[in-house]
Symmetry: C2
Subunit: 330 residues, 2 copies
């Protein structure tokens, strides 16, 4: 692989001069510049990023960590959509991304990123307080997306989960449902807890019209929807609607009802949360609360880039407004 030194020798100039034309910093006489450019092309020169990173202290890499309990994760319809936005936005800004996933909330992926001296970090999902404290003391700038824990002094981007669930409940109530069951993801996670609280608040505010059915709390996957829906059906007080705290769960519920011969929404309505890609293609199409996943990813890199430019960490909390999408399952 050709180096700056090789091409300097061929052209008959110093490495410094070659470096100047390669990087574009500093001036150079037009015709020697032309000669250098030509040699670069002929010798197939490509700058060594590591050498450059060593001296400039900038790597142009931003690390992305997804902490989550269960695989698969990159392809996950929620996080994957955020990743897509992150990939697009970083690329636009000339940065590269390095992605790591970790099922345990450990620090060794963080350690990897420190070794690589990434310019900044974006952390998704199960980011605990302990983890945040760890990253804070590494002094590398980071922004959080849909973090589990809130720690002050950090910049994070979340969806307004409380409001979204509140709105969802209102939607259901306005449709005339009287008994609403609730299937939830793990309440340790901020988002599921807020959804749960927002939902309850709405029901309390409309106590006369509606009552809470059985609540089933499980994991965040389809299986939870399956077992949850099954157990809900066994109560004496059968609900006429079920709210699932995410679309995966809702999809599981949909399947159970279908296999049991129940008609959705006639026999029982189903509503989800997140608006993942496939929710529009379920049968019936799923009513849900849309989370602006693209915006989350895009804003995260923009905020991070701002921090990198200004050389200092901000602490800003961005709470994105959700939106009820009424489709055919309610």
């Amino acid at each position: 692989m050709a180096t700056i030194k090789d091409i300097a020798k061929v052209v008959g100039v110093s490495k410094s001069t070659v470096s100047r034309v390669v990087s574009g910093h500093g001036s150079c006489k037009p015709d020697t510049k032309a000669k250098i450019l030509k040699a670069m092309r002929e010798m197939n020169y490509t700058p060594n990023h590591h050498a450059r990173a060593m001296v400039t202290k900038k790597t142009g890499i931003i690390g992305v960590i997804i902490y989550r309990k269960h695989m698969p994760i990159i392809s996950h319809p929620y996080y994957g959509a955020i990743l897509d936005a992150i990939a697009t936005e970083t690329r636009k800004a000339g940065y590269s991304i390095m992605i790591m996933t970790d099922d345990e909330a450990t620090m060794d992926v963080g350690d990897q990123f420190i070794r690589h001296r990434v310019d900044g970090l974006i952390l998704l999902s199960r980011v605990t307080e302990e983890l945040i404290n760890y990253y804070q003391q590494t002094s590398i700038p980071f922004v959080l997306i849909n973090n589990t824990a809130i720690v002050k002094g950090t910049t994070y981007i979340v969806n307004d989960d409380y409001q979204g669930a509140y709105d969802a409940a209102i939607h259901l109530i306005s449709k005339g449902y009287k008994t609403i069951a609730y299937i939830s993801g793990p309440l340790e996670h901020r988002s599921y807890r807020l959804r749960w609280e927002g939902f309850q608040a709405a029901l309390q505010d409309h106590g006369a019209a509606v009552k809470m059915g059985l609540t089933y709390i499980g994991d965040s996957g389809v299986e939870t929807g399956i077992t949850g829906a099954a157990s809900i059906l066994q109560t004496n007080d059968k609900p006429d609607a079920v709210f699932a705290s995410n679309d995966m769960i809702a999809i599981g519920a949909l399947q159970v009802f279908h296999s049991l011969g129940l008609q959705v929404p006639r026999d029982i309505a189903v509503m989800g949360f997140d608006d993942i890609y496939f929710s529009q293609y379920t049968t019936p199409a799923l009513t849900t609360v849309a989370v602006d996943k693209k915006q989350m990813g895009t804003l995260a890199v923009q905020k991070l880039l701002t921090m990198l430019e200004s050389q200092r960490t901000e602490n800003e909390s961005i709470i994105l407004p959700p939106r009820v999408i009424a489709r055919d399952s309610t």
Copy 2:
């Protein structure tokens, strides 16, 4: 950030000695080793990956490029699943991955990876002959997954698309369907072309029992299924089954039939290809041909790692066997 030099000074030894204990190469007297380790911990030392890469000529990074026409892509249920396997397997081997996507089949993402001096590359999907030639002359080892073009001298991993489509047709025929329509992704891509050929071959081999319905060729997304299904329904000779060359297309078709009040599979059967995660949750659950996406990703990194260890590029073609998954849509 503490360097090897800092800790050498504190402990009172040379950088060389510190380097030896950090890297584990070379010997060191137990108690000076202990002192060094202690200092490393106290000073929060983390090796600089770039400095190391410079001298060892190994970066421990493998680049992953997904060439595809349309976004989103990381979250794509087919490629995302492969990415998950790649992420898991590389991590297991102590490598990091850097992911880039490109909607145009250009070389500049390749250029980025050369700058980073990645140890190897995994290229997914729309990898044209031109692109492969380009990567071959960079002399960086790579393996292809589900590549568009086949170029000899390369290592690639594909699904046996011909056989899968053949088997799919047999499945449909054995179920007694008489007229089968076909909705296809772009035939420029090897996989769609082979699926198309395999399907036709099976029909020819069983000419007496079945005939081909309308063929609709479009893109690879859900919309193609929607427009394709709609146009198929307008033929005089209505099919009693439709084969979609991927699950996304099948899902689109399913939706159209549902919205038109047709019962699947009673009025018309639908079969897909790929077995993406959501296919098991459609209504009715989609009959499809499973592609071993996890295996594709895992084998790709294993093959690449072998090449890296042996210091030479292999050329091996791995054709994974597909498997018909009969569910409720046929």
